[in-house]
Subunit: 683 residues, 2 copies
């Protein structure tokens, strides 16, 4: 297969012209590129974009290429690695990126992110621009890049300025906005994604995508080919349409069978179910054949015009969830009949409908599987594996899929690549065993919620319990749905502290949410553990004030004077992690460190290597304001490691990073930690 | 005559295209322009340059145009004003500008001033760009714009990156670098200068130029047409060539007749005079005819090659001045024979030579005037009057010209425009009567030296004496040759204090040196009252560190966070000045204000209008650190003005500008002034 990365470099060389006023953040730039550039103020560098990307490919990426390796395949297949069922993710460091946002930059410095800027270039993120992030990812130690959805999303009822990437309108088309404007029409967006994956693989970074099999855009191309796979309502009833309120149940009730009985007894529910209509194709096959239009959107508009019908918006599977319906997406009809367990509750004649039970197909299944749809849904990942060579995936709302379908999806992918990895969108720690049983390799967990809550004791609890979870968790401090850690009380100092610590928590996989590494404060979405106050994270005169990256044009704040801080401070801890990686990721090597005075904001982690008589100690002071002087009880450690006379190489991982020799002869260790300091000690 | 300003607007409309990344300082921008623009950081605004200049002409300048006025003529002639022999300058506020520098800006924000930037535009100043300054000049109250030399200057032996505008190589050609790149080849530099003058005149701003009749560039076109007007040496002797040291005389001795006798007795002087050669044309007329080349520079190079001769560089007229020869300029041979008074001192046969006497032709004249040259020199101003409609001129080194020639120059100009004004480059206050006799309207004086020297008493002395000087002085705090006032001890606060005060000093004309209004600290030249330490005015990482605007590419520091301060603070004092202008500029209305405790840093000025029973008081505390509480002795004022019960309208002209009523019944006034505060009181 011909290298698309080489094609990209060649294309840029052909199109190259001088005199483009193109600025990039200094954090993306590396001096080794050896191109003409100018340091600007506010952490910016002025480059010629052609010179820049060409040199990035030719001088930074391609020199790492090994002969006879086909980088268009997943790393496991490319290097013909021994099958590990995707367990490599355990030893990875994950970076979560929304391409459109992570690689966006106001290149012409016009104070707005333009779709066509003063040089006729598009300033939102693209796969080509994502190459810019590779040096940064390497500095963070990242070797697994998780991409938020990259497939085509619909603009119908779109959220924000650009629409949500979760409003998928085609599983196999990549979103055209992710194609770069620099390459003009010489390359397709598919080729540019191939080039990017190739680059990642050359740099030793595996690529995971996000697939969304449970919901689909209300502007999806599948509505046209398979109207019967969707739920329908009259367009004129859209205003009435909202999840029925169940007076007898409390807020956010779980749809247990008991609760569903009450649901079906509620009058509002019957009125709600009556809103649903037969799908237009079955309603009038002849009229259906006349549906026309140049685009998907136009055709869907035509259905609306001719039938007066629209696809029904999706909503939360929680009873009495205060959220509005999700106006831009709908649910797939995974079963063609009603849920087995609840169907007897409903006495009236009705059309296929969405309700708290039919959403949760993992619990409420029908008898008639929508086999054609299931086949399609389980073929998405194989498509990306074969065409692009991806290495893994996160399954969105996987917990709401029929177990059988989930198994299909996972099995089919592992058939192509035995080491393909899966991450579960599961935040409930109690579900760890089920998730493991479903053959996932890792689950998100609730680190984003617990780790920043130090005073509340959640922080310590998470760290002490993580090693007993059935499969690895992400040690994520934030996700694209949550509050940013730098916006929490404790701010940038808390973020630095937790980010460093997150590289060492037992049975977890370090996970950086794009922007976290430069103390970005504005969340990307207000979905989870965030609220309207997060919209005030930026000053009012900031051009991205009140903007959410998941829906709007957004650029991270590289002009933060401390934008280099986390990366600089991670340098040494990362070396320690790499040196100790096999020990850290072996659950048996973990030993809790105990203190004479246990405190909620004080944790101690140790990893033992009895064979070599060595140990790694991580002690963290989560107090925002006060230093701690504490005695670590080394008894248990002493029993296993006989080397405590040789304690040394203390690394302060927060504000300074001196290496000092710790002259210590006693059996217990007395340490002083500054506020929000992590001490890393090698014995 | 067809309006060149309208042609400029039309040309820009024809050439207009979108998508140019063009930044200007926010201080140039005015919201009234009603064009699309973006506020950037660091006091910058992003505009489309075509829209910007078109709107500046059409919406800001042209609406002020009156019918039937020919703005291409001087304001005096255009408005057919009553002849005042150029005395209008007394009531003016002068802004001194170096076009190449004052209007330069890094429009593409590439961190360098480019001759051809990323948009193929020239970023150094031009006449078209000077239009940008008009709103700013109006805010400063400026109605007389003095331009440093604008004629073509030579690049031979050029100083700095660009060369000095004082190294004039043609009197009638404008320097091509002052043509703007936006208009391409649709307009000539002459047309653009005409458009600019027209714009100034419409806005009520008169234009003065700087003419340099004593020296000329060593790359001048006149060398080719009139080699006999210059002094010549062998090119190979250039290294030996330097003003002879006169051991018997001290440093910086004046060339009195007594001293010149000693000079001619010195052996070094004889050796020095022997260096001079006959001019090449007289040496070999046939060979002279063969001189060829495409440019002036090439032809001069050809003389050097064929004759081995070069024009002799100029040097200071002071004996034992430590300055090196001025490598880029030479002196004109104003007389074709030796100085009458000293010729008997020289016994050897010799060629025409430069010495301390032949430089100072105002004292040492010959018998044989170089009439053709004199005619040329006295025709320069008339050329600019007729072609461009200038309103006045400063004569460079006018004091070193034969009195007769100077008279010719002034008379010829006044023949065309009786109200044409002349400013003398005379800093010696003792020469005021001679300068007045020579028919100048104003002289520079030594304000730049005395006014910032407050503790030394010079400040107070200048202000107390200014009213007795024979003609108006400039109240200049700096010139293009001196240290910047904001770089002196006291810095920006001192600059704000003195700038406001300079609008009210008796018998002086306020004079702002371009950049002074935004606290520029780097001098433009180190010629007078400045030294090498001035080169450290900017931080080392500033791209203009060590650059001098007179020789290098230079841009003023509009990103100074206080760049608006002086202009904001001048608003109210300017209104007072305008209201009292006729009184302030009438020497008879001045009365010194006395204090109970006189201090060097405390001055009081008053202007009385006995007819209206009113007075204007200006009290200034020149102490950098301490407030002053003082009693003003109002006795004399009381005798003339009977209105002291009605004292009010105090304006604090420094940091706040409240208008408070001063409730005062006593015959003496007790006032408290903050450090570096100016109080303006209307009675």
């Amino acid at each position: 297969m011909k290298s698309k990365l080489s094609k990209l470099s060649k294309t840029l060389k052909n199109l190259k012209h001088n005199s483009i006023n193109y600025a990039i953040p200094d954090l993306w730039f590396i001096e080794d590129l050896n191109i003409k550039h100018t340091k600007l103020k506010n952490h910016e560098i002025l480059v010629n974009p052609y010179d820049y990307y060409i040199s990035l490919i030719d001088n930074y990426i391609l020199p790492n290429k090994k002969d006879d390796i086909d980088y268009s395949k997943s790393i496991s297949l490319a290097y013909k690695e021994r099958c590990d069922n995707g367990e490599w993710i355990k030893k990875s460091i994950i970076y979560s990126s929304h391409v459109r946002t992570s690689a966006s930059y106001d290149n012409d410095r016009s104070m707005s992110l333009d779709i066509s800027n003063l040089d006729d270039l598009c300033e939102t993120g693209s796969f080509v621009k994502m190459l810019s992030l590779l040096p940064l990812l390497k500095k963070l130690g990242v070797n697994a890049l998780y991409l938020l959805p990259i497939s085509m999303y619909s603009k119908i009822n779109k959220k924000g300025e650009l629409g949500s990437p979760y409003s998928v309108s085609s599983f196999t088309k990549l979103d055209p906005s992710l194609k770069d404007s620099l390459t003009k029409k010489r390359m397709t967006v598919d080729e540019e994604f191939m080039a990017f994956i190739e680059a990642c693989h050359i740099m030793g970074i595996r690529v995971l995508i996000d697939i969304i099999p449970r919901t689909n855009s209300i502007g999806s191309e599948l509505i046209l080919s398979h109207p019967e796979w969707f739920y329908w309502i009259k367009t004129k009833n859209k205003d009435k349409y909202r999840p029925p309120k169940i007076e007898k149940l409390g807020e956010l009730s779980y749809p247990t069978l008991e609760n569903m009985k009450i649901v079906y007894e509620t009058k509002e529910v019957i009125d709600f179910i009556k809103l649903f209509e037969m799908n237009p194709k079955e309603k009038d096959e002849e009229l259906w054949k006349t549906i026309s239009g140049n685009t998907i959107d136009e055709k869907i508009e035509d259905i609306n015009k001719k039938f007066g019908l629209s696809v029904a918006p999706a909503f939360s599977d929680c009873i009495n969830d205060p959220q509005d319906p999700w106006s831009d997406v709908t649910f797939f009809r995974l079963y063609l009949d009603d849920p087995k367990e609840t169907r007897s509750f409903l006495k009236i004649k009705h059309n296929p409908y969405i309700l708290f039970d039919s959403i949760k197909t993992n619990i409420y299944s029908g008898d008639v599987k929508n086999q054609e749809l299931w086949d399609l849904l389980s073929s998405i990942i194989p498509y990306y594996q074969k065409r692009f060579g991806i290495d893994g995936a996160r399954i969105d709302m996987g917990h709401a899929l029929p177990k059988e379908l989930l198994k299909d999806i996972i099995t089919k992918a592992r058939k192509i690549d035995k080491s393909f990895t899966f991450i579960a969108e599961e935040m409930n720690m109690g579900n760890d065993k089920d998730v493991k049983k479903a053959m996932y390799n890792a689950m998100i967990g609730n680190g984003f919620y617990t780790l920043p809550r130090i005073k509340e004791g959640e922080f310590k609890r998470f760290i002490l319990n993580s090693n007993s979870v059935a499969l690895p968790l992400l040690s994520c401090l934030e996700t694209h749905d949550t509050r940013r850690v730098a916006f929490r009380e404790g701010g940038e100092k808390l973020s630095l502290f937790l980010t460093i610590l997150s590289y060492f928590i037992p049975n977890t996989i370090p996970f950086i949410n794009s922007g976290q590494e430069i103390y970005e404060k504005e969340p990307m979405n207000l979905g989870v553990d965030a609220n309207l106050s997060d919209l005030e994270a930026l000053p009012k005169d900031d051009i991205f004030y009140h903007k959410l990256a998941l829906f709007d044009k957004y650029q991270f704040h590289y002009d933060n004077p401390k934008s280099h801080e986390i990366i600089d401070h991670l340098k040494d801890p990362l070396k320690v992690r790499e040196k100790w990686l096999n020990i850290i990721t072996d659950p048996k090597s973990y030993l809790r460190l105990r203190f004479e005075d246990e405190k909620d904001n004080l944790v101690g982690i140790s990893y033992l290597n009895p064979k070599k008589n060595r140990a790694l100690l991580i002690i963290a002071n989560g107090d925002y304001n006060n230093k701690i002087k504490t005695k670590i009880l080394l008894g248990e450690l002493r029993e296993k490691i006989n080397n405590y006379n040789n304690i040394g190489n203390i690394r302060y991982a927060t504000y300074e990073l001196p290496r000092i020799h710790y002259d210590f002869k006693d059996s217990n260790m007395i340490l002083e930690l500054k506020p929000l300091e992590v001490k890393i000690i090698e014995i």
